[in-house]
C-alpha cells in the first residue's frame, strides 16, 4: 500500500501542477521577452531599490553565507527580501513557474543553467553585469563557460568545487609507495598501488586500495586521458571517444581488482564518512580523488589522521580538476530583476567574499582549526583571500592540502552548457553504472549512451534553434 501515497501525491501534485499550468511562454514568447523585464531597461546602476525580492535555492548554512547575505541585503536597502532556504528544488521552482509566481532570484547548480536558459526560464545577465559594473573576466573561465549559453551569460558563478588526491600516508609507506603513485599521473602505477594497498579476502573488503570514484568522476578521468565527453559547443556527445572508453576501462579495472564495484561500494557505504572514524583515520582507504571540501571535514574531525594531499594529475603529470559549483540566475518574469541583479552581484563581489572569509578565519581560530582557504569562482577574491588570509599552519600535510586546493583551482575544466544537461548526465552515468553492475562492457555501454545522449542533445538543440529562427 506504500506506493499509493507517493502516487497519489504524484497525481494530485504533478498532474495538478500540470493541470493548472498555463506556461509562461517559451524562449520566444516567455515573460522574459516582455518589455522591461529583460534588456537594458530592467537593469540599471541607478535603479531604485524597492518592492520585494524572493529568493529560492540558497541557505544560510554558515558564516560564508550569512556575511554575504547581510551585505547583499544592505545593497538592496528598501527591498523586502524573503528567502526559501535550502537547495534549489526543481519541482518547487517549476511549480512556481507554472503558477506564474516565480521567485525574483534563484541559485542553481551551474550544470542546470544551460537547460533553464534554453527553455526561456531564466534571463540573460550580460546587461545585469554591465549595469552593476561586474567584469565577467573576474570569474574563472571554466565556471563562466558553464553558465554561458549561446554566447550569453545566464548565471553568475558562485563557489568552485575542485577535486584533489587524498591518500593515507601510513598505508602508502607500509606498501612502499609514494603520493606520486596514486595522484593519477601514471595509471599503471595507480593500478599497481591499488593492488598493493587493497586488503581483503573472499567477498570481504578490509582496506580499499584506491577508489576511482565512479560514476561521478568519469569526466575527469576522460579529460586526464586527453578526451572530452562533450564538444565545446555543447552540441555533440563524444561518449564513445576511445579516450573516454579507455578511461572507463581503467577506472572500472580498479574496482575489479578489489573484487568488484559492489563489494567496494558496500564497504564504502558502511564507512563513517563524516566522523572521527572516517576511512583515513581508520586506515581503511589507501587513496582517492575527492572534492576539496572534504579537507575541512578531515581537518575538523580527525586532525591527526595520516592523510596527505596532491592535485589530481593527468597522464602527462599536469594538475587537472573537474570543477562544479553554483550560480545565481534571474528567472524570466522575475518581479524585481534590478534588485535581483544587485543582490546577486553583491553576493559574488570580491569585498563580500573577503568579508565572509575573514569571518571564517575568526571562527576557525576560535575553534582551534586551520583556515583551509575558500574557492569562490571569483579569481580576484580567490587571490586576495589566499594572499591575505591563508597562513601556513606549520603542519605539512594540511598546508600541502591548501596548496593543492589553489593549484587545482587554476587547472579546472567543466562540461559545456547545453540544453539537455540532465539527459546527457543521465546517459553517461547510467552507462557507467551498467558497467559497474556487470551488465555491459565499457565500449558497449558508452556506445549506447552516445546514441541516447546525442538524441537528447539533437532534440533539445533543434527546439532551441527553432526559437532562434535558425
Amino acid at each position: 500500500m506504500r506506493g499509493l501515497r507517493p502516487t497519489a501525491a504524484l497525481v494530485a501534485g504533478g498532474l495538478l501542477l500540470a493541470g493548472c499550468a498555463e506556461g509562461t511562454g517559451g524562449p520566444s514568447g516567455g515573460a522574459g521577452d516582455e518589455e522591461g523585464e529583460t534588456g537594458g531597461s530592467a537593469f540599471s546602476a541607478d535603479a531604485s531599490m524597492e518592492g520585494e525580492l524572493s529568493i529560492m535555492g540558497f541557505g544560510l548554512d554558515d558564516e560564508i553565507a550569512e556575511v554575504r547575505f547581510d551585505l547583499a541585503e544592505q545593497a538592496v536597502d528598501g527591498v523586502e527580501v524573503s528567502l526559501a532556504e535550502g537547495g534549489l528544488d526543481m519541482q518547487q521552482f517549476l511549480s512556481s513557474v507554472a503558477s506564474g509566481d516565480v521567485p525574483s532570484l534563484i541559485r542553481a547548480d551551474r550544470t542546470q543553467i544551460g537547460t533553464l536558459a534554453s527553455r526561456g526560464a531564466i534571463q540573460p545577465l550580460d546587461d545585469c553585469l554591465e549595469a552593476e559594473g561586474v567584469d565577467p573576466g573576474q570569474f574563472l573561465e571554466p565556471a563562466l563557460a558553464q553558465v554561458t549559453f549561446a554566447d550569453q551569460v545566464y548565471g553568475i558563478p558562485e563557489f568552485n568545487q575542485v577535486r584533489l588526491t587524498m591518500a593515507n600516508e601510513q598505508l602508502l609507506e607500509e606498501a612502499g609507495l609514494t603520493l606520486e603513485d596514486v595522484n593519477g599521473s601514471d595509471w599503471e602505477a595507480v593500478t599497481n598501488a591499488n593492488q598493493k594497498l587493497f586488503q581483503g579476502s573472499g567477498s570481504r573488503v578490509e582496506v580499499i586500495g584506491y577508489d576511482s570514484k565512479l560514476p561521478e568522476f568519469l569526466p575527469m578521468w576522460a579529460r586526464a586521458n586527453g578526451g572530452a565527453m562533450l564538444s565545446e559547443d555543447g552540441r555533440t556527445a563524444q561518449l564513445d571517444d576511445p579516450a573516454v572508453v579507455e578511461a572507463l576501462e581503467w577506472a572500472v579495472g580498479i574496482y575489479d581488482d578489489q573484487g568488484g564495484f559492489g563489494q567496494v561500494k558496500a564497504f564504502r557505504d558502511s564507512a563513517d564518512f563524516f566522523g572521527a572514524g572516517n576511512q583515513f583515520a581508520s586506515g581503511t582507504l589507501g587513496a582517492m580523488p575527492m572534492e576539496h571540501w572534504y579537507v575541512n571535514v578531515l581537518n575538523e574531525v580527525s586532525p591527526d589522521a595520516p592523510v596527505i594531499f596532491d592535485t589530481v594529475r593527468d597522464r602527462q603529470g599536469e594538475p587537472i580538476s573537474y570543477a562544479t559549483g553554483s550560480a545565481w540566475a534571474i528567472p524570466a518574469g522575475s518581479d524585481n530583476p534590478a534588485a535581483a541583479c544587485r543582490f546577486a552581484a553583491t553576493m559574488v563581489a570580491t569585498d563580500s567574499w573577503f568579508a565572509a572569509a575573514e569571518e571564517r578565519v575568526a571562527a576557525r581560530e576560535e575553534a582551534g582549526l586551520q583556515f583551509t582557504g575558500l574557492l569562490t569562482g571569483n579569481q580576484e577574491a580567490d587571490q586576495r583571500i589566499q594572499e591575505e588570509l591563508v597562513e601556513p599552519s606549520g603542519e605539512e600535510n594540511w598546508d600541502s592540502a591548501v596548496e593543492a586546493i589553489y593549484e587545482a583551482n587554476e587547472n579546472t575544466f567543466t562540461l559545456p552548457a547545453n540544453p539537455a544537461d540532465a539527459e546527457f548526465d543521465r546517459a553517461w552515468k547510467d552507462a557507467v553504472n551498467r558497467v559497474l553492475n556487470g551488465q555491459q562492457q565499457p565500449a558497449e555501454a558508452l556506445a549506447d549512451a552516445q546514441e541516447q545522449a546525442q538524441q537528447a542533445l539533437d532534440r533539445a538543440w533543434e527546439e532551441w534553434d527553432a526559437t532562434q529562427g535558425q
Binding site: R2, G3, L15, T24, G29, V97, E216, A422, R426, Q439
Partner: protein, 296 residues
C-alpha cells in the same frame, strides 16, 4: 421528499465531490490533454498528436522499467499477502499477547517510506548489513543486495514485507468475524487446524483478502518512494541501478528531471489503463472466488 433528500445528500457529499473534481478529475483530464502535447512546464504546451504514445514503444528505458515493475508485482504481491495471512493467523492464536504483537507488526507501517528506503541501504549492505550478518551466522554468504542487479528487486520485496502491518490488521479483523459455529461444525467433521483454515477461514475472509490483493497490486504497480530514495534519491546521488527503475520512477524522472511533462503524462495514462485492466480482471475472477456475506 426525494428532492429534499437529494439536496441534503449532495450538500453532505459536496466536500468530497468538489475535492474529487478539483484535485483528481480535472488534473487527470488535463493530463490526458497534456499527453498529446510537448510540454515542459516553462513553455506553453504544443500539440503533437499521439507521438508521445508512439515514443513509449521505442523507449528502451520504459520497457525495462515496465519489466521491473511486472517482476516486482508478480513476486511482491503473493509474498506480501501470504505473510499478511500467516501473521494474521498467528495473531489470532496469540491470546492476551495479541495486542502487543499487533502493535509491533503495525509500527513499521508508520515509518516514512523515505526512511524505509535509507534503512534498506543499511540493512542490506553487502559488507556490514544486518541481513548478511545474520546469513553469515548460518554459513550463507549473502549477496550484494544494493548493487547486484539480480538481488536489487528481491531486496526491495523483502523490505516491503516490513510494512505488512496494515494488511495484517484488516485480515485479523476478518478472521475474528468468522462465526465460531463454522469451526465447531468443522471440528465435528474431524478437521484439523490447516483444514479449518483452508476450508473455513479462507473462504470467510475472501472479501477482505480480495481487497488486500487488489490494493497491493495497484500499490506494487505504482511503487516509487523506497526504490527512488535508495537508488536514485538521497541514498545514492550519483550511483543508480536500472534494476530498481520502476515504471513510476521512470515517469517521475521524465517529468521532473528532464521536463518532458507531456511524455510523462502519456506514461501515466498508459499505467492508468494497465491498472484498470488488471483490476477489471481481478474483479471478474473474484466473482467466482470471493464470498460476500451480503450476497447470502
Amino acid at each position: 421528499m426525494a428532492r429534499r433528500e437529494l439536496r441534503y445528500a449532495l450538500l453532505f457529499l459536496s466536500p468530497w465531490l468538489v475535492g474529487f473534481a478539483v484535485f483528481t478529475a480535472w488534473p487527470m483530464l488535463y493530463s490526458g490533454y497534456l499527453s498529446l502535447t510537448d510540454y515542459d512546464v516553462i513553455s506553453d504546451p504544443s500539440f503533437v498528436g499521439t507521438s508521445n504514445y508512439e515514443r513509449i514503444l521505442a523507449d528502451r528505458d520504459a520497457h525495462q522499467a515496465l519489466r521491473n515493475t511486472v517482476w516486482y508485482t508478480v513476486v511482491q504481491v503473493p509474498a506480501y499477502v501470504t505473510v499478511s495471512v500467516l501473521l494474521a493467523l498467528l495473531l489470532n492464536q496469540a491470546g492476551r499477547a495479541a495486542g502487543f504483537f499487533r502493535t509491533v507488526f503495525f509500527m513499521p507501517s508508520m515509518t516514512p517510506p523515505v526512511a524505509t528506503g535509507v534503512l534498506l541501504l543499511l540493512l542490506f549492505n553487502g559488507q556490514d548489513g544486518l541481513i548478511n550478518t545474520v546469513l553469515g551466522w548460518v554459513g550463507i554468504e549473502g549477496p550484494n543486495w544494493t548493487t547486484d542487479p539480480t538481488w536489487i528487486k528481491p531486496g526491495l520485496v523483502l523490505m516491503s514485507l516490513l510494512t505488512v502491518g496494515g494488511s495484517v490488521i484488516i485480515l485479523l479483523a476478518a478472521i475474528r468475524n468468522v462465526p465460531q459455529e463454522l469451526y465447531d461444525a468443522a471440528l465435528v467433521d474431524g478437521a484439523g487446524f490447516w483444514r479449518k483454515t483452508w476450508s473455513v477461514t479462507m473462504p470467510m475472509i475472501s472479501g477482505p483478502l480480495f481487497f488486500v490483493i487488489v490494493v497491493n497490486t495497484i500499490a506494487a504497480l505504482q511503487t516509487f518512494t523506497e526504490a527512488y530514495t535508495a537508488f536514485f534519491g538521497v541514498g545514492n546521488t550519483t550511483y543508480s541501478n536500472d534494476a530498481a527503475e520502476f515504471y513510476v520512477i521512470h515517469l517521475f524522472r521524465q517529468a521532473f528531471e528532464f521536463l518532458h511533462m507531456g511524455y510523462a503524462s502519456a506514461l501515466a495514462w498508459l499505467l492508468f489503463l494497465v491498472i484498470m485492466a488488471i483490476t477489471a480482471v481481478q474483479v471478474l475472477v473474484s466473482r467466482r472466488l470471493v464470498y460476500y456475506e451480503a450476497d447470502r
